[in-house]
Symmetry: C2
Subunit: 329 residues, 2 copies
């Protein structure tokens, strides 16, 4: 028995399809029309100079079967995206939150993924009535107030996806709807998007049977959508993409390569194991990245790195808007 590696990648670049072909060959999600109408309404309801950010958050799934029992998933609870959405709201942004269903959501994120579940926050009061435990009442009350305030002000719109295909259709739809607002729109692409997929037409119709030994999955590379996003869908917007790696040797070169290849504004680079207290902000103009980091003790005390990251991005976005006005004048 030969010791071939179980994970291998071939070099057949002919199979990397272009983004348009992807949309021709895959079915749109059922909420696409709803999302179109809601985003159009949301954008229209904002003041003319309102800064808007599209935050993408959570991982995409890639089904292995048309009647889906199994799928490939990307690691992401949605921590970065949901925390960042809160920070953008606090800084006055209107936020379109394009997130994986069941991933963390702004304000709710502090409670929804507790291993104890919702009931652990409740107790019977002495009069027998059901109450929030006193130790949670202040924090939950503040989160509820914030959530209701931003919702009532129409500053937060939630749109959800599950599969890679859902995500890509929704990303294109939202991009085209906000593109006309130009520089005042930021894209904050924090979702963990699959790099590989199995095209719908060559997927197994039913649950893959296990009686016959090994399983070989041949997956195609997902076309890079950052290219058409930057060039065609939303060329005037301020676009921030993310690079997550586990090998530190690759991080800087991959971030710079992405900026050069796609020509967008910012790449946030981060390592899987340190991403909660250290990120690097790469731009085309600066030779060295800006480091943003917090103490692990601050993190433990409830200070998210997204507070610093989003503040810095908002500052750069403001500058970008001003420069666009000057060059337009």
């Amino acid at each position: 028995m030969s010791l071939t590696p179980s994970v291998s990648s071939s070099v057949d670049l002919r199979r990397i399809i272009d983004p348009d072909t992807y949309f021709d060959n895959n079915l749109p999600p059922t909420n696409l029309q709803w999302a179109h109408d809601e985003v159009a309404r949301f954008v229209k309801s904002q003041a003319p100079d309102q800064r808007i950010v599209l935050v993408t958050s959570g991982g995409t799934t890639v089904p292995l079967e048309n009647n889906t029992v199994r799928f490939v998933d990307n690691f992401s609870a949605g921590t970065r995206g949901s925390s960042s959405a809160e920070q953008f709201l606090a800084l006055g942004y209107a936020v379109i939150f394009l997130h994986r269903e069941q991933s963390l959501q702004p304000f709710n994120r502090h409670y929804s993924h507790s291993t104890q579940g919702m009931l652990s926050y409740l107790q019977r009061a002495t009069d027998g009535s059901l109450r929030i435990k006193p130790e949670w009442e202040d924090k939950m009350g503040r989160d509820l107030d914030a959530y209701q305030k931003y919702t009532a002000q129409d500053k937060l719109l939630m749109v959800s996806f599950t599969t890679l295909s859902d995500y890509l259709f929704l990303l294109r739809e939202v991009s085209l709807l906000v593109a006309g607002l130009g520089p005042q729109v930021m894209f904050y692409l924090a979702a963990a998007v699959s790099d590989f997929f199995i095209p719908s037409h060559s997927m197994s119709e039913h649950k893959i049977q296990s009686a016959e030994g090994d399983l070989t999955l041949r997956m195609n590379q997902v076309p890079k959508f950052l290219g058409p996003l930057v060039k065609n869908w939303a060329p005037l917007c301020f676009i921030v993409s993310f690079k997550l790696e586990t090998d530190p040797q690759l991080l800087g070169s991959k971030a710079r390569h992405a900026l050069k290849k796609y020509g967008h504004q910012v790449v946030i680079a981060n390592m899987l194991n340190t991403r909660k207290w250290q990120v690097w902000l790469f731009t085309r103009e600066e030779i060295e990245p800006a480091t943003i980091q917090i103490d692990q003790s601050d993190l433990a005390a409830g200070h998210d790195i997204e507070q610093d990251l989003v503040k810095e991005l908002a500052r750069r976005h403001q500058k970008y808007i001003k420069e666009a006005q000057v060059s337009h004048a």
Copy 2:
């Protein structure tokens, strides 16, 4: 370019390792010792004739990388397992709930996977205090009371897993700890366990890079653990396994094949699309399966099929215990 199917399975049966080899080649989960101690304590605290059920619930993941960014997941929110655990408790069972982290849990299940999140259940009262919304107070109160009652009576023990490997180590550990109680223990194996995995030693160390085109994943078949479970780990217990299919043509023959091959007591067969209102109960003794089904209108009104399924299994389990006592006498 040849049109080879993207999902294919070879017939190299030599690579199906035996279960013992699996445990030799994979690392145990970090909670294994904790689980051992807790299950031993839990079992010891029960009355001598207490019926006990091990409910497994939720899907297992199979990492594609040692520094995990991507993994293959099995579809399962844990609905069947968490609902069944409640029914077993109501019928007087002590329940060990071996579940996927973040999957649905008994009593909490009605609230934890709401797309709106926890805050949607709360509101400010007229005096400004934080309250459960009146329309939820009764139901949540009943669920909290039930959860606290069973916990206080030491009738519900929660043990969690994430990966396939975690699950298999914990299943073996728990099985060996409860096996000595014999017929009074039921195994209710509702978890959706992966059929394929990538051995740790042949996994990619870092995030798989996507620059080189296609990705080919070669996965080994997971050894069938029902065999050693029935024969060696817990030979006297009442064992119920599940068969989920999407192709109706396969369901009956696969259920009967499993009973013949492993020699356990019951296979519950169900179809992905109808599993919430129809299941079939196969045994070795009966030629035709018993059909358990509910009206979809009952389901909508909050009647879970697990009420009927678990009641029927408890009845058969009772008979099994009696027969074992007779043959022992």
